[in-house]
Amino acid sequence: MKPEDIIRPENKVYARPELLTDRDTHYCPGCSHGVVHRLVAELLAEMGLADKTIGIAPVGCAVFAYNYINVDWIEAAHGRAPALATAASRLNPDRMVFTYQGDGDLAAIGTAETIHACNRGENITIIFINNAIYGMTGGQMAPTTLLGMKTATTPYGRTAELNGYPLAITNLLAQLDGTCYVTRQAVHTPAAVRKAKGAIKKAFENTLGKRGTSVVEIVATCNSGWKLTPAQSNEWMAEHMFAKYPLGDLKNE
């Protein structure tokens, strides 16, 4: 068959999600954020939630998430997204409220807001991008940075003596009575992306069903910060990150 016979509307099996705006993202080539944005846009459209969604954007690389997914958004101060989401959700209980946060936002400056929103069992979804580095500010150490990992503020590698240990905060969140679904996913292969999409869908369903807080951690790459190519970053992640942050459900009630 010739390409022109295949490339016809009736044969289309994958299209750019309509809920993505036309803007090009500011993310570096190969950044995991783009894949997760795409999944969120696909799901909100597929689940018919575009008109009732309130997204809460963080400070960090995803600060401009609101430029890309065409729903109502509120931009939070650094770390405060779960506090905003708490009020947005409680005051608008029939809305689909989700936060989109990085590791610095969720696991360092926003630790209190994150833990307490989860502990109260707020009916929100928290999408947590863990790439073990501060991307937006130029590659500094994150709470999730692995031991030995070189960053702008651990130029000789993170040591436990100086910087403490990498924080698997999702494990902590799974211990809280308020969370109903806590899972750790990745988007480095087609199969992983499909699983991650299923996880975010389950989280959104929990939020709609008022079952408590759902947390979807995406172990992700920051190839600029890691100083690797996108493909190398995926390999490095599979080799090193998954040992500390193994994929799979931590809680599914």
Partner: protein, 78 residues
């Protein structure tokens, strides 16, 4: 036996040449342009072996910039 024909279109303006689609493709359909670049200076992806495409959408699934669309025809021989 049914035969599957696939094809992709790539928004070369939007593509950042990250190469993740090239790695994900099980049929080695895609490559980055070796010399040509888009407006932003990226060696964008293109189908160098379009006839090998089975329309599995692995490339689009891992694309961070949502710039790949996928088409598939299943020819059942009738």
């Amino acid at each position: 036996m049914a035969k599957v024909y696939g094809a992709v279109t790539i928004d070369s303006r939007r593509c950042k040449g990250c190469e993740l689609c090239v790695v994900a493709c099980p049929c080695d359909v895609l490559q980055l342009q070796p010399k040509e670049v888009n407006d932003r200076g990226y060696h964008f992806a293109y189908a160098s072996k379009p006839e090998a495409c089975i329309g599995c959408a692995a490339c689009a699934t891992v694309c961070p910039d949502a710039c790949i669309e996928v088409y598939r025809v299943v020819d059942r021989g009738n």
